[in-house]
């Protein structure tokens, strides 16, 4: 019985972000109910939970969340591994811009997607490798090491496009961020998320990579003494993060059918870190929870979509955001829950 309790640790970690997400959706439903003056209309047109079928594909706020949240979710997968090693990758936004810019410029030059996509992803992985070398081999502190590419990367992206927004036309490239598959009518970016989640899960949990990452993050010295090649583990994590950023960059560019080197992925690194931490992975490294990171990504996008849906003006939008972040943290804090249950029990007796 006890074995079971410990094995389901991942599950218990995920309970709290899921709970927070449910709470947020509930708030939306209540707000809808208030504006429609009735609860029965929770699914009617214009409501948060409403899903309609346009051209046979479902669409609605929930679908939008999956669609737009996909970039953060994919970034969060790579970020999970990096954070688990005890690091952090601030450059993902800039790498997104580089990836998108590369893809757009090559597409405009007339190269086929079969060439464009691999090149863009390869360049993103080179960016990851660069971070990995700085952190893993030169032992520069992750925040500054990746800050370098965060600053310089945007410049590189601007150089690639000549500081212009490059609009492209290519059915395949446009499909990445906007497409729908006939047999699985979810937004294609979200399908990419599922694929990436599966790939990440298999390659960390069905190999020993996950274990090695967690051991390096939890106690680097002891891991080294046990024969773990910490440097290569760290480098691998950053390369993977670069790869994820590359995919997210392709989605971002494809979404607007153009590469915007200055704004693509701007400030998304913070969202990704947020998603990872909400999902139960500690910033100090160690255990990571991929499912939690995905939920965290959905949570933050739900928050954004809620702002739009509820007409919260942009200047005060951070206020509800702050409150949600705080509530999520409180729910997650074991100390808080204990204190709460104690006061509750005291009241009962």
């Amino acid at each position: 019985m006890e074995t079971k309790t410990f094995r389901s640790r991942a599950a218990t970690k995920i309970v709290w972000p899921v709970l927070a997400l449910a709470l947020l959706i509930l708030v939306n439903v209540l707000l809808d109910a208030r504006s429609f003056n009735s609860f029965t209309d929770a699914f009617r047109e214009g409501a948060f939970l409403h899903i309609s079928f346009k051209n046979g594909y479902p669409s609605g706020a929930l679908i939008d969340i999956l669609n737009h949240g996909s970039k953060v979710m994919i970034l969060a997968l790579g970020m999970s591994l990096v954070i688990a090693t005890g690091g952090v990758d601030l450059s993902v936004g800039a790498v997104m811009a580089i990836s998108g810019a590369t893809a757009a410029v090559l597409t405009v030059r007339g190269l086929p997607p079969t060439v464009v996509i691999p090149i863009a992803l390869l360049i993103s992985m080179v960016c990851g490798l660069w971070n990995g070398i700085l952190v893993g081999m030169l032992k520069i502190q992750p925040i500054v090491a990746t800050l370098i590419l965060m600053v310089a990367g945007r410049g590189v992206a601007q150089m690639i496009t000549g500081a212009q927004i490059i609009t492209f036309h290519s059915p395949v490239m446009e499909f990445i961020g906007n497409g729908r598959l006939a047999w699985l009518p979810l937004p294609f970016p979200f399908i990419l998320v599922l694929i990436m989640l599966f790939i990440t899960w298999v390659s960390t949990r069905k190999t020993a990579i996950g274990l090695l990452v967690e051991s390096v993050g939890s106690n680097p010295t002891a891991s080294r003494f046990a024969g773990v090649r910490a440097t290569s583990v760290i480098m691998m994590a950053y390369i993977f993060s670069g790869f994820c950023a590359g995919i997210a960059g392709l989605i971002a560019a494809s979404n607007i059918k153009a590469a915007d080197p200055t704004h693509a992925g701007l400030l998304l690194e913070m969202d990704a870190i947020f998603a990872v931490v909400v999902g139960g992975t500690a910033l100090t490294g160690g255990r990571f929870f991929l499912g939690g990171a995905i939920i965290g990504g959905i949570l933050i996008q739900t928050l954004t979509t809620t702002m739009y849906a509820q007409d919260v003006s942009a200047d005060v939008a951070p206020l509800p955001k702050a409150i949600v972040v705080l509530i999520v943290c409180l729910i997650q804090s074991e100390t808080f829950r204990n204190k709460l249950s104690k006061t509750w029990r005291r009241k009962q007796s």
Partner: protein, 301 residues
């Protein structure tokens, strides 16, 4: 120091501090300044502030230390320039503003402001829309970056104009951060909202957001330009293309190519001429009726 020795007699040195390279419009603006400087043989010191006012203030101080002949800059925000401009004045260096104005108590701190009038742009957008829609519209507005001067003024001008038309109302308004991605995402949310089906006009504070919104409209199964009339500001190349394609109805030009006018003003000033405090840029309003392939081909940005 080698640079200094190459400097020919009589060549003027101009320090120019640009906000950044946040849009195609801005890049064109930079390009115009740089190429004009080269054409006239001006020694241009260029500094990119990467969107931060602090960087601009430092750049201006550096220009003062380097003893340039003239300083020009596009301010990130309108406030906060008093101290550094006083310093420039004490050093005897004339200052020209481009693109945006500044809020200072003493307007002798700068020679002249060369640029567009954001309020006027908003007003013109409103005017065009009122004419097009016969004074009846349910409008969605995509605002620029919260708190930025163009966002505030373009909103102000537009609202002031449509205040006279009781049947023109803004039913949805959100910031799209001046970007395509946000413009698209926000407009999707607009369309889906309870009022979404009523929207029949869109006013976007810049072309990029309008271009994003056009994609959102198409994906929602509606026809941009027909089901929803769209007016935006700037007049970038892609916007003209969209007008040709019938997806965008009108763009109010905000001309970035101010290089010639800036250096004209600088040269006149150095030659001792009196200059007006405000030099307006020539700008047009381009809609379906005007834009043709020829017009598009002639656009430089």
């Amino acid at each position: 120091s080698s640079k200094q020795s190459e400097k020919q007699e009589g060549q003027i040195t101009v320090g120019f501090s640009q906000i950044g390279a946040e849009s195609g419009w801005r890049t064109a603006n930079t390009q115009s300044i740089k190429s004009e400087a080269e054409k006239r043989g001006v020694d241009l010191r260029f500094s990119d502030a990467q969107g931060k006012q602090e960087n601009q203030i430092r750049a201006i101080r550096t220009f003062i230390q380097q003893k340039v002949d003239v300083i020009a800059f596009s301010p990130v925000v309108e406030t906060g320039w008093q101290p550094v401009l006083e310093e420039a004045k004490r050093a005897g260096i004339p200052v020209f503003l481009t693109d945006r104005a500044v809020d200072v108590t003493d307007d002798s701190l700068y020679v002249s402001f060369i640029g567009s009038d954001f309020i006027e742009e908003g007003r013109r957008a409103g005017e065009w829309l009122a004419k097009k829609m016969d004074g009846k519209a349910k409008i969605a507005e995509l605002q620029g970056t919260t708190g930025s001067a163009p966002a505030i003024d373009r909103k102000k001008g537009f609202e002031a104009f449509i205040a006279d038309y009781p049947e023109m109302t803004i039913i949805k308004s959100q910031s799209g951060d001046f970007t395509r991605a946000k413009g698209k995402e926000v407009f999707e949310a607009f369309l889906r909202s309870p009022e979404g089906s009523e929207i029949n006009a869109l006013y976007a504070h810049n072309d990029d957001m309008a271009l994003g919104a056009i994609q959102a409209i198409e994906e929602a199964g509606k026809k941009p330009g027909t089901d929803i009339v769209i007016v935006s500001i700037d007049g970038v190349h892609d916007a003209f293309q969209a007008i040709l394609d019938g997806k965008l109805n009108c763009t109010v030009e905000c001309n970035p190519l101010i290089g010639p006018q800036v250096f004209d003003a600088v040269e006149k000033y150095l030659a001792g001429e009196e200059l007006p405090k405000r030099i307006q840029i020539e700008e047009g309003v381009f809609d379906e009726n005007i834009v043709t392939q020829e017009v598009l081909d002639k656009r430089q940005y």
